[in-house]
């Protein structure tokens, strides 16, 4: 054989080896069956159902922050944004576009998704999809308790607890005024967090307000019991960690709650991932698992299912933004972020999130989803959290007066 022939043979062989590997990989992408468990022993078999950044959780719980992850698989059930909300969105179909500044053009009235039915062949698909995400049916009002279990590498698990009240002023389906709750400040959303534990934090109150006018800066107010005053915070605090947690406000709701126009978006593809939309997790379980965990953070193993997700890469337009990129895995049907990860400004892996949701019934017979548990870890510093919420969704009779800054002192002392 000549050298050339040998070379051809090697290339030919290499081609077939590659083909074989690809096919075998494809063949191996079988879906886990209901009742099956994904854990340390078999997670590699299903590794393609997770972002790469989450896999160390199965191996050793990210170096001991959790017990190695165990996911109990259930059958995938249909889920979506509430049907009435999708119906409300239909009037917006094909009505709006994205302008050169990345804003919605055409006079969007905040009722329903601005881009219902946006398809992958749309050149602005990623941005339009993220606007849909931003204006998805959130909830109308929510009130309840939240708990953040935290662990610094090598230390005990600690926890912070607080009460939260939030109002979404747009896209309301069942609670009057609907679908838009007109308010003098022109708010889209407001949330008040009042810390209750530990006692060193008790009495602190945090109010965040997001305006309908997308160009208007968010606002943050802080009430410190030691000062007994409401202090105007800096809205750019949305990008820096909230006291004692890995999460900034921009990292909320599964990993991304930033202002849409302040970021650019790139569609990376579609992917089947494991998600949890019917989690039974609550604060009592969080406390119980922490107590039994032997120094590990709580983790919700129940009701994981295979979901179809869009993978979107997010970059901040602000060059000072602390994260270089964030990648989110958003459920195609419910518009909930199932997984997310972020790199630091140098591009090194920094933060990882994985979120559990539960499904709740709306009085109109619809169903909606809400966040009940979020795992977050700063893999560089070695600090991890598991955030849990027990909220009553809808029917809390929350008014604008409940989220005025003057209401903050009434939450404290």
């Amino acid at each position: 054989m000549t050298k050339r022939t040998k070379g051809m043979a090697v290339l030919f062989a290499a081609f077939w080896v590659c083909c074989f590997l690809l096919v075998s990989n494809s063949l191996s992408q079988e879906m886990p069956k209901p009742g099956e468990v994904i854990d340390k022993n078999n997670y590699k078999k299903y590794a393609y159902l997770f972002p790469e950044e989450i896999l160390p959780g199965f191996e050793n719980g990210f170096g001991g922050f959790w017990k190695p992850f165990v996911l109990k698989i259930v059958e995938t059930k249909p889920a979506s944004q509430p049907k009435a909300f999708l119906a409300l969105s239909e009037k917006n179909r094909g009505k709006y576009t994205i302008d050169k500044d990345g804003l919605i053009a055409g006079g969007y009235d905040y009722e329903g998704l601005p881009f219902p039915g946006v398809t992958l062949d749309d050149k602005d698909f990623a941005t339009k999809f993220m606007y849909n995400y931003n204006y998805r049916y959130n909830w109308e009002d929510a009130a309840g308790h939240a708990r953040d279990a935290e662990k610094r590498k090598g230390e005990n698990v600690t926890s912070i607890e607080f009460e939260q009240e939030s109002i979404c002023f747009i896209g309301r389906l069942v609670t009057p005024p609907k679908p838009f709750y007109k308010n003098p400040a022109g708010l889209q959303f407001a949330q008040m967090l009042a810390y209750t534990d530990p006692s060193s934090y008790r009495g602190q109150v945090l109010l965040t307000c997001k305006y309908l006018d997308i160009k208007k800066s968010d606002e943050v107010y802080i009430y410190l019991p030691t000062m007994r005053r409401i202090i105007r915070g800096d809205a750019s605090q949305r990008s820096t960690p909230i006291q004692g947690t890995t999460n900034a406000f921009d990292d909320f709701n599964g990993g991304f709650e930033g202002k849409v126009e302040q970021f650019t978006y790139k569609f990376l593809g579609q992917k089947k991932v494991m998600g949890c939309l019917t989690s039974p997790f609550n604060i009592a379980m969080s406390k119980k698992l922490q107590a039994e965990g032997g120094g590990a953070l709580p983790f919700s193993s129940e009701n994981w299912e295979v979901r179809d997700a869009y993978v979107i890469e997010i970059k901040a337009k602000d060059p000072k933004y602390p994260q270089k990129t964030k990648v989110v895995y958003i459920d195609k049907d419910t518009l909930m972020i199932l997984h997310a990860s972020a790199t630091d400004k140098a591009g090194k892996p920094w933060k990882v999130w994985m979120t559990n949701y539960r499904t709740y019934d709306l009085p109109n017979g619809d169903k909606a989803n809400t966040n009940v548990g979020q795992l977050g870890i700063d893999v560089q510093v070695g600090f991890a959290t598991f955030f849990t919420m027990d909220n009553k969704m809808v029917g809390n009779n929350l008014k604008y007066a409940d989220v005025m800054s003057s209401a903050m002192s009434r939450k404290s002392r």
């Binding site: 308010n183 700063d378 008014k399």
Partner: protein, 551 residues
């Protein structure tokens, strides 16, 4: 023997109570979650108990302290126990109380000082530490207790002993005018919260959502013991015959011979005066130069204090708050009294001082009425940062005057205090410190007395500035997600080239779910002299360790 037995018995009781208390704390406090879980008593009814045990240990760095009784460097050894009760009776009704006990020992450094009843010659001498300990007086122990009635979401009315803080300044007080201060046990600027003296008041806050506004009103009768109605001041080294040192946090005495505003007779020396400590204005008005270089008094002061009346001195006012186009602003009015005493020179009483044979002259420490009109605002700027500003205008601020034509030595002048601040939170955020940004606050505070001629600065033979600007700055961050917090507060006042530097580091480990914390703070006060700006406290540098257990 009997007395000794009683002492032993009391000491034993205290020890026993301390052991029981610590035992209860250890038994009751779980180590991973809330100290005391909220107790549910019904669908709407619940009660929560929490609080802290705190110790402040401070050491003076200058040894000996000027005008002190010994070279002991213990600056403070204060231990607090504070308990909060938050009792939600129903959604519309809530009861709140704060009880506090504090213990401080007798300080060798101020042995022999008068109590903080400023210039009261009949005041008892400190001897057993009870001056600072709080355990038997209801006005000390019952720090707060009020009922809050919320007839609707928009309305809240609190009745009882409470604290209401107004204003925007973080490093000092401008619009925060409601409560007097207890300045005896700490440098007030280093502990703005705990030095406030709470007040009995009715207070309402009414939100008006339709115009994004709220209205707050306060009615505050002085139904506390008289000493709690005004600032409680640490006594200053005295020039009376006893030659008393000052309390630890008392101001530097006037030591300059600057007749007629500060006089002494250096030729006589002790026991007629503490060397270097002068008689201050307006008491100095009764001294004359009998012979060249020889100053003598012509009358002996008899000093009393006239505190604001319980009901006649009722304080009150209102404050508005409005949010409009991103601006948060409001106006305030408060009628109150001057909380620092102003010395009113009176007539000769007709009496004779038995020691000197000189006539007695009446001097009264008065706390005149005044009205405080204020305004404030804050705004998230279009670029990074938050603007905060506030101003108060007092049209009838009482001052002591050097103008000897004014017999009672008190005049009223316009007084303005303002603050402009810029907060840059989260702007300084670095790759090498990802867990938190550096928060920076810069505050400019100014005091203006348009007609400042002859206006006396506290006790000194120093005329107040027409414009007295100060510049304060605070830089803070935390490390490893709040394991360690660091802070630097610095202030500079061109007047007297004075200011302060306060770096602090706080350690909050995960033990007991962050219930335990330790803060080490260094307080440095500088100035070119002892009589201007902050220089009046410049020799009180200290390190302060605060250990706190939150339960």
């Amino acid at each position: 023997m009997k007395g000794g037995g009683i002492k032993m018995k009391k000491a034993g009781q205290r020890f026993f109570l301390a052991v029981v208390f610590l035992g209860l704390m250890a038994f009751l406090i779980p180590n991973y979650s809330a100290a005391f879980e909220t107790i549910k008593l019904g669908e709407e009814t619940e009660v929560t108990f929490y609080g802290f045990l705190r110790n402040n240990t401070g050491m003076f760095l200058q040894n000996p302290q000027p005008f002190s009784q010994s070279s002991n460097v213990l600056a403070t050894e204060r231990t607090w126990f504070r308990g909060y009760t938050d009792f939600k009776i129903m959604n519309e009704l809530r009861f709140w109380s704060t009880i506090q006990f504090a213990y401080e020992p007798r300080y060798k450094v101020e042995h022999g000082a008068k109590t903080s009843r400023l210039l009261d010659p009949d005041g008892p001498i400190l001897k057993d530490g009870k001056e600072y300990s709080e355990y038997k007086d209801i006005d000390d122990i019952l720090r707060e207790t009020y009922l809050e009635w919320k007839p609707a979401k928009e309305h809240s009315i609190k009745i009882g002993r409470q604290m209401a803080i107004w204003g925007e300044a973080l490093t000092t007080r401008v619009g925060d005018v409601i409560h007097p201060e207890d300045q005896r046990f700490s440098l007030a600027f280093a502990n703005l919260e705990d030095t406030r003296i709470p007040s009995w008041m009715a207070r309402g806050v009414h939100s008006i959502p339709s115009i994004d506004s709220s209205f707050e009103w306060i009615v505050n009768p002085n139904i506390v013991q008289d000493k709690y109605r005004v600032n409680r001041l640490a006594s200053i080294a005295d020039n009376t015959l006893e030659g008393e040192p000052g309390e630890r946090f008392g101001l530097h005495p006037e030591t300059r011979f600057d007749p007629p505003f500060s006089v002494t007779n250096p030729l006589l020396g002790p026991p007629f005066s503490i060397p270097g400590v002068a008689v201050t204005h307006p008491f100095s008005r009764d001294w004359i130069e009998a012979f060249p270089g020889f100053w003598v008094p012509t009358a002996i002061p008899t000093v009393t204090a006239k505190y604001p009346g319980a009901w006649s001195g009722t304080r009150g006012g209102f404050r508005t708050n409005t949010t409009l186009s991103g601006w948060n602003f409001g106006f305030s009015y408060f009628h109150t009294q001057e909380y620092n005493p102003v010395v009113k020179r009176g007539d000769l009483t007709g009496g004779i001082d038995p020691d000197t044979g000189l006539p007695l002259r009446q001097y009264t420490l008065v706390f005149p009425n005044k009205d405080i009109i204020g305004g404030y605002l804050n705004k998230q700027l279009p670029w990074p940062g938050v603007l905060r500003a506030e101003v108060i205008y007092v049209p009838n601020q009482p001052f002591n005057t050097f103008d000897t034509r004014d017999f009672d030595a008190i005049v009223r002048r316009d007084y303005i205090k303002y603050m402009v601040a810029y907060d840059l939170n989260s702007f300084f955020y670095f790759q090498w410190h990802k867990t938190a940004p550096f928060d920076v606050t810069i505050e400019h505070v100014g005091e203006v007395i348009p007609k400042n001629k002859n206006i006396q600065y506290i006790i000194y033979s120093t005329e107040q500035k027409q414009w007295n600007p100060a510049f304060n700055m605070r830089i803070s961050t935390n490390w490893l997600y709040n394991l360690i917090s660091t802070e630097l507060v610095a202030g500079y006042m061109p007047w007297g080239r004075s200011g302060l530097i306060m770096p602090a580091v706080k350690f909050m480990p995960s033990w007991f779910n962050k219930k335990l914390s330790f803060e080490l703070k260094y307080i440095n006060i500088f100035g070119k002299n002892d009589f201007q700006g902050l220089g009046i406290l410049r020799k009180k540098d200290m390190v302060l360790l605060t250990s706190q257990f939150d339960w």
